[in-house]
Symmetry: C2
């Protein structure tokens, strides 16, 4: 017990050198089986645990992964971000890595990365929410800091490691489903379109429409932070049009809930009068499962993405020679209660 024993003291008690004890504990081969056992026993009878700072200093590896998150950013991806983090965190702790999160002023993002690199705070980082004209990857390359992108950086797909959902494909399929059901006035309530994922979703939406000779109506497309009121307010407004939409394609469950509320307020019924398809990140506190989910959705677990991103990054750190890898995931298109044929 006491106030924590260190290597020197432990080896003194054992009558061995620090070298041998260290090697014994770290599984090096040049230690006899008997000695190793004796060391191990004494170590945990005395409750020895190596000081992580010292070890880090000696090895030069910080055994930590950094997540830099500007204060404003997380407002718009709040719950999704946490779920991702939770997934990544599981992987980290399975591999003995720490996760360090820096919540910083928006204009200090670059500085934060520089600090992580120069002060050796982390062995790698994850880039969250890549935008259209992304540049963080350049900075990180310059700094020599390994990284994995959650999402992908347009134009740098080949030279970076990333994990992304097939956003365009998912929304194209969802739009097609609505078209098949006879909907032609379809509204798109999207995330901020300077973010790559939202940009791609819109592209998928428009592609599906134009394939059938339809044109996306700008009056039916909105893009903003994906809050509940964003869904409700815009849906209410659109439902008031003389030529209202009969279906909504929404980028987030939270906003979709808002849309459903608007539909109710307008005296209509979701799934009968108005169809809704939403993207579902499989957030644990917003389950949309069950035999027949509440919302028809394109679903992909963001927590799983977090786990995989962490895997990729740890692998990258362990094998720096290996080139960039990426994971391109499909979303499932799942039929729920919120869609039905267009009313005539």
């Amino acid at each position: 017990m006491s106030k924590g024993i260190n290597l020197k003291e432990l080896s003194r008690q054992l009558g061995l050198s620090q070298t041998t004890v260290s090697r014994a504990l770290n599984g090096y081969p040049e230690v006899s089986a008997e000695t190793r056992k004796r060391v191990a026993e004494m170590a945990d009878s005395l409750g020895y645990a190596p000081n992580s700072q010292a070890r880090r200093l000696a090895t030069g590896r910080s055994m930590a992964i950094g997540h830099v998150i500007p204060r404003s950013i997380h407002e718009m991806m709040n719950p999704i971000f946490l779920e991702f983090i939770a997934g990544a965190g599981e992987t980290y702790s399975d591999h003995g890595y720490d996760m360090i999160i820096s919540v910083i002023e928006d204009d200090k993002e670059e500085e934060a990365y520089r600090q992580i690199a120069s002060r050796k705070k982390a062995d790698g980082v994850i880039i969250h929410g890549p935008v259209n004209n992304e540049k963080r990857h350049k900075l990180l390359k310059e700094l020599g800091l390994p990284f994995v992108v959650h999402g992908r950086i347009p134009g740098a797909e080949a030279e970076t490691s990333w994990i992304d959902l097939k956003n365009q494909r998912a929304f194209e399929r969802a739009t097609n489903l609505l078209l098949d059901l006879g909907h032609t006035r379809i509204a798109l309530l999207n995330g901020l379109e300077h973010m790559d994922f939202a940009y791609r979703r819109r592209a998928g939406f428009e592609a599906a429409l134009s394939e059938r000779g339809l044109l996306a109506d700008p009056a039916l497309m909105r893009s903003a932070d994906m809050t509940e009121p964003f869904g409700c307010d815009n849906a209410l407004e659109m439902l008031g049009y003389s030529d209202p939409p009969t279906a909504f394609l929404v980028s987030s469950m939270i906003s979709a809930i808002g849309v459903a509320r608007a539909v109710g307020q307008a005296g209509l019924k979701t799934g009968r009068d108005i169809s809704i398809i939403t993207h579902d990140d499989a957030l644990s506190f917003l389950p949309n499962s069950g035999e027949v989910p509440i919302f028809t959705c394109t679903r992909s677990s963001v927590r799983y993405a977090g786990q995989k991103a962490a895997d990729l990054l740890l692998d990258l750190i362990a094998n720096p020679a290996k080139g960039p890898t990426s994971l391109h995931m499909d979303a499932e298109l799942i039929i729920g209660q919120s869609t039905g044929p267009a009313q005539v």
Copy 2:
């Protein structure tokens, strides 16, 4: 630029000793103003930044705060947890501290704390979601690890530092408001009642009722993870009773949204036929503000709580001698669109 310069090299370039350079950079008085300036300039022209591992080893302080979060726990406090974290993170980075988060198996919680202490991974930790028969604080005291509780530990209020909302008071006031509006059949959709906050909210609810000579009806009280379906399913069931509730008191916006959905599904109107009061943690992606908020609520910013908890903890670390402090916050009772007089 290059690959990072260290103290030794920096002092060599300056023709000074490491001691002096270190002191100059850390603001010690025994350095002439001129030298200090020269050092500072050279330092940032060469892009010098102290290696954090080395500094931590030398000072014995890890300059990090730990948050241990069992995998299952975060399922139930997911978004609230993130908001708290975000608040705390702001404070940490303002003070040069790192935030390290450990997502671990439920049965490894104790081990995680022990590791943080023995390997000196963090200078302090935050206890999340205290439960009825809490024991983490005992472990932490034994380990000598400073901590602050988000919430409070029944029976240990005087001997621990904590920050908590007046949960009982808030729900008592909310219940009183409903009673004043003429509601007598009030349902309580609460969080898991082995958690201290939920236990207290229920106590407040029951106290208000009994003060008016009413008894809480067990058929109208539910307790579970605060998901959206939890709100919807239970509300639907209760609204089907022969003697249904006319008002709902809900522990979370997410569940309240579910209740509102149920009300709509039952063909009723929230705020007219059915009143809802919810607790509102002021989550950024679920704004309930505006001139007249959607939901009548008891509101308290959990992000603010995070900031304050971090303040408390950093203060505790800086002044170990000072006894425990705590912050007991009031929730605002805010009138929104979801309440109205009971229908007769």
